[in-house]
Symmetry: C2
Subunit: 204 residues, 2 copies
């Protein structure tokens, strides 16, 4: 059995990443979602353990002390972290894992060199369109929208550090493209210990 | 406009590559096929200029002398070659090009370092299945089948030099997978000069 692969996916807030990932997860078998920890309060409809592990700040700080996070970062005044255990378990079981973290978290993860992953950036088609989507949410204050747009401008500068750039214009097309990337990655030869792949073909 | 990308695709004879490539070409826009030159006689149904440029051995040798080939090789006692001009023109026009060459040709191309390409290996699910497909063609002598199977065993050892391994078991699935690889490659960030990609998103 081959080991699962890790896909690190970042997108500016409001890009439509959550909807996109749910659609891709439903479409592709053998793919799971790494649930992050956060100290931010749940948004309407978000469930603990499914969207995030929602924890208090003291709990989060204790987890940092115990070295349980692969990476953690502060974003919009809240703490976010990726626990090492969840990813390890799934990858060892041969399941590909999607890790949804922001640009800052991805940058830390990359620098630690602790995991091998493919980095995918999901971008809005334009800043104007992003603003429209953020306002459409009707959950954000004017101040939050201004902050998120400013953050998005900064985050876009990180595209160069990602291996794939997926522009989320029409959702159906984006679902197809992201699915294609994951499926194609499974066919990349380094997934197949070459001797075994050849052996299977020659002797079956 | 971005420059087209080159996909080098190799498969043991009888793997079903020709049918596969025709289906993928029909499915994906902006993709063309580099037509190779060969001195082997056309098979039933093959058209000059579409499947191959069929040329005489003296013509082929003259082209070698004039340096017109990116690579050329002798396979099954026939000469095969890839002319530099066809690929250059299409890539410059922003069209992705599929170059269908054998393992030996791909190896030469890789070593020359003259072109940047993605290398994809199409494999039969097994040698037994390959033999079945070769017999199914009803165009090959027993001697030819034996030679092609022996060659296939050698060619499989080259899988390790390819970036992607696509096992052609069920044709529909293989068409989807190869299409996914090409579409995913188009989203790989090095295709987007980063400054421009970011500029487009920020200022539109």
């Amino acid at each position: 059995m081959s080991v699962g692969k890790l896909f690190v996916i970042s997108a500016p807030s409001g890009t439509g990443k959550t909807t996109l990932l749910k659609r891709v997860m439903a479409k592709i078998p053998g793919l799971s979602f790494s649930v992050s920890h956060t100290t931010r309060p749940p948004r309407p409809g978000e469930r603990n353990g499914a969207d995030y592990h929602f924890v208090s700040k003291p709990e989060f700080l204790k987890m940092i002390d115990r070295g349980l996070f692969l990476e953690h970062a502060e974003v919009h005044s809240n703490l976010y972290g990726t626990s090492r255990a969840a990813i390890d378990q799934q990858c060892k079981a041969g399941i590909d894992v999607i890790l949804d973290i922001d640009v800052q978290g991805a940058s830390i993860l990359r620098r630690t060199g602790q995991v091998k992953a493919r980095y995918i950036f999901i971008s809005p088609p334009s800043i104007m369109e992003l603003e429209k989507r953020l306002r459409g949410r009707k959950t954000e204050s004017e101040e939050m929208i201004t902050m998120r747009l400013a953050n998005a401008r900064t985050e876009l500068l990180a595209i160069k550090d990602y291996e794939y750039l997926v522009i989320n214009d029409l959702l159906d097309d984006t679902v197809d493209l992201l699915s294609s990337i994951i499926v194609a990655e499974r066919a990349r030869s380094h997934r197949f210990p070459s001797g075994r792949a050849i052996g299977n073909i020659l002797h079956s």
